[in-house]
Amino acid sequence: MNSSFPKWYYSTSFFLWLLSIILVDDFGIGFVGLCTVLTLWQASRLVTKPSVLSIRFINLVTLLGAIATASLIGLKNSVNVFVALMLVASLLKQVHATQARQFTQICILNFFTYPCLFLFTQSIFAAFLVLILLAVNLAIMLNLEQNLRFKSALKVSAKGLVLLLPVATLLVVFLPKLPAFWQLPAPQNQAKTGLSENVDPFNIANLSQSSDLVFRASFENTQQTGPFYWRAIIHDEFDGRQWKVSEYQGTNIRALPNEATGTATIIAQPSQLPWLYGLAYSYSRSAKLNSNVFGTVYLKNLSAKPVEYQIDFTDFEPQDSLRPWYYNRNTALPDDINQQARQLARDWDSQSTTTSQFIELMQRYFLQNGFVYTLTPTTTQSDDRIDDFLFNSFNGFCGHYASAAAFLLRSAGIPARLVSGYLGGEKNDNQGYYSVYQYDAHAWVEYFTPGVGWQRLDPTAWIAPERMTGSLSQLEQLSSEFKSGLGYSLIGFSNWQSINWLRLQLEELDYQWTRVVINFDKEKQGALFKEWFGSNGQFWAGIFSLFVLFLVSIALFYLSKQLTRHKRPIELVYYNAIVSDFNKQLSGTTAKQHIVELCKLLPELEASLWRFYQLIEKSQYQQKPLTKFELAELKRLYKSIKRKARK
């Protein structure tokens, strides 16, 4: 191995390994292992300095690496495999790099490999990280041409990148956004957030709590008050074990309602399901979204980056009756299970005349039998799960209560369905938006009353009424249980005021970042142009962007001129300026001779000329830097000599 290259050139390997760790959720632990092996190999070669590897051997390893990568990730995830192969290729190229040119090529390749991280995450931290990696990368490139020290190379490259950043920002804002040339496969994201299409609460021993953000919502113009029930998925088929997503979840409405009671802008984090979040009866006019018959919205195409959309929402329309097939669908239950629960429902049905009376009886039952809200319920595998819950365990979370309530309602012939979504949200007081996290996931019931239509019923609220206001994170009672399930995350420390403050600040920064940077699309650009340049916005923006490009080029021109200009000491500049006035009259070759001649030409200036020479001699020939005071004196002398010499 050629040891003439500085060790920090090999930092690239470490960075690539870091990327593989960040993407562990997408690439799997096996791939990280592969990258670790390659990085360790590189590190060991750095320490032991063995001979150069033969091309044949490297080719063999590359082939093996490619096969290993493809088999570890699976060819189905084309984007993931592609990015993973890039990482492995860069790592291997690094191992056998022996010439300056190869390092240059690796550095150039890194300009592609590093930003690939943005395909998976576009958080502000990812952006910051990639910026740092690119700065080091650029420092290597600089160093390959100039032989600087690591620190100064990094300083130059960081300075350069920081200068380039606003320019790139200007270009992103002003260069007209082109539509996608062709459809590329989206990277398969391993979204940690999102709901399940089938709700089966009885199988879950420990409700996983994640503090990952699901979406953020802000309301326009209207002051909305909670509780916010964010509807996402309607489950109207119960098979005895789980509530399945409705067949009509993907059925669109033909005409959108006319009047909305409110409008909300929502930025949803990427999820594996298309179903998005809305309030009450929601619909959207966005081209990216569909509005379905249940009053929820969903994505036409899954996205790997946060989706920003607007919804209009309104109350449910009063309905007199359901069509028979639809009534049957919403009262259907599998036979022969949960007989006790059915009997209970029949009893209540005979005791009540209206649906609300029936619900009152149900509420009384839950309250009088000591039901408990818990995130770690008793599990059951029996066929009569709801019986178990209602008559034995008496504990559960929202899924249990909603499931049982819907079953009881259906048993009495009242149309009912399960709705899953999120409840609440943490309000950011500065910006007025709500953040909804994965631990805010919730399930509740909607039942139908003739003449009134569909109504919401949240049986969990009877047991844990605090759950209705605010987010789960703000719930005192459950806080210890809740936090123990969270693992390590900042919200786990929300009791500590300073850490909570930091968390909220970061949260806000991320909100702005998502809204302003990540979701700056053609639509937003168009709106911005219109605001700034009037109705002919597109045209003027085009002109303006050309103008910006022109300005940038001019600025670069002068900047690079400035950068390459040799910074001569000011003493010599002064000296040359004085001497150049008398070029023709001077015959000497040294500075001292010049001064002697100048003294003859300008006898009245002799004293200042000699003092001037003294200072120059001190800085130039004795190599002693001048003090501030001496520099000021030098300047004064220069000015006076120059002034008098002109006369």
Binding site: R101, T104, Q105, I108, L109, F111, F112, Y114, P115, F118, L119, Q122, A126, A127, V130, L134, L138, M141, L142, L144, E145, Q146, N147, G160, L161, L164, L165, V167, A168, T169, L171, V172, L175, K177, L178, P179, A180, F181, W182, Q183, L184, A186, A304, K305, V517, I518, F520, D521, V552, S553, L556, F557, L559, S560, K561, L563, T564, R565, H566, R568
Partner: protein
């Protein structure tokens, strides 16, 4: 066809650089992306396409950063070479196969980074990482056969700042340099000097001349070729070989090409070593190269004239 066009363009460009001193400026500096620069542009385009297709502003921003970097590299590369003064200082001749060299001086009021200089005669360019003020340097022309060579085009090239652009210019001094024949010791006794009377003596004298008379202390200005290196290696004393005074008629020798045996190059090589020996002995000698005659003479200039004649022949 394309090659002819290329050559024509090149000749046209070289014509503008036919000077022994050139100040690099906007009308004689050429800038193009290097091969790596082309790769860089391709990566920037790839990022652009990716950014557009995934509607990913961050990737798009990286591609714009790369584009601006490229433009900045063009400017920086230009200003790096701009206002540089390149002066041709002459050449140093040498005996084949040792390398002759072309001497240049590069000066600039600013600092020049990462300069590569190459001529038609050296495969790998010499790389100078930094020039501030003035710097003289030699471009070697190794392993050339005997002859006179056109100094040719000297290329001044830089990949500053990131290796993405190549900034270059030429200087084409209208000059030649010499590569003398390889000196070949004369062992054959057939050859004869033009002056028939001292043929045998000449040879004898030549062979005897290896046997020096005595050694004296080396003094500054004495020819280094007369130093007894053997002695130096043993005692580290610099002693100079003093030869016995030669007979009067040996002070005038004629070296005749046509009287020597062997191939043309062999004969020239022999003549070369004869010239060197004669010069060492401070003999007055003349050179007969068929039509080309160099009259009797002595000293450094005469020796050089003879060696050049041998190179040219």
């Amino acid at each position: 066809m394309i090659n002819r066009l290329k050559r024509k363009v090149q000749q046209h460009i070289y014509k503008r650089h036919q000077r022994s001193e050139i100040r690099l400026s906007h009308n004689n500096i050429y800038i193009l992306p290097s091969k790596d620069g082309g790769f860089f542009i391709a990566v920037a385009l790839l990022n652009f396409v990716l950014g557009i297709n995934y509607q990913n502003n961050l990737i798009l921003a990286v591609s714009y950063i790369m584009a601006v970097m490229m433009i900045a590299a063009l400017f920086l590369g230009f200003f790096n070479l701009n206002n540089t003064n390149v002066r041709y200082l002459g050449s140093n001749a040498n005996f084949s196969p040792y390398s002759s060299s072309i001497r240049l001086s590069i000066s600039s009021s600013a600092e020049i980074q990462s300069l590569r200089l190459s001529s038609a005669y050296n495969q790998t360019a010499i790389h100078i990482s930094k020039v501030s003020g003035e710097k003289a340097l030699e471009l070697s022309a190794p392993e050339l056969p005997r002859g006179v060579y056109d100094t040719g085009v000297i290329k001044i090239l830089s990949y500053f700042p990131f290796g993405l652009v190549r900034t270059w210019s030429y200087i084409k001094p209208n000059d030649t340099f010499y590569v003398y024949p390889t000196p070949l010791p004369v062992i054959d006794t057939e050859f004869s000097f033009g002056n028939a009377s001292n043929i045998s003596q000449g040879i004898q004298q030549k062979e005897r001349s290896v046997e020096f008379d005595h050694l004296t202390q080396y003094q500054k200005g004495m020819s280094l070729s007369r130093v007894s290196w053997k002695h130096y290696a043993k005692t580290e004393q610099m002693l100079v070989k003093q030869n016995a005074p030669e007979s009067a008629d040996l002070h005038r020798v004629i070296f005749d090409y046509s009287k020597l045996s062997g191939s043309k190059e062999e004969r020239l090589s022999k003549l070369c070593s004869m010239v060197l020996d004669a010069d060492k002995q401070q003999t007055s000698y003349a050179l007969l190269l068929q039509q080309n005659r160099i009259p009797f003479g002595q000293g450094e200039a005469h020796k050089q004239c003879c060696l050049e004649a041998l190179s040219e022949f």
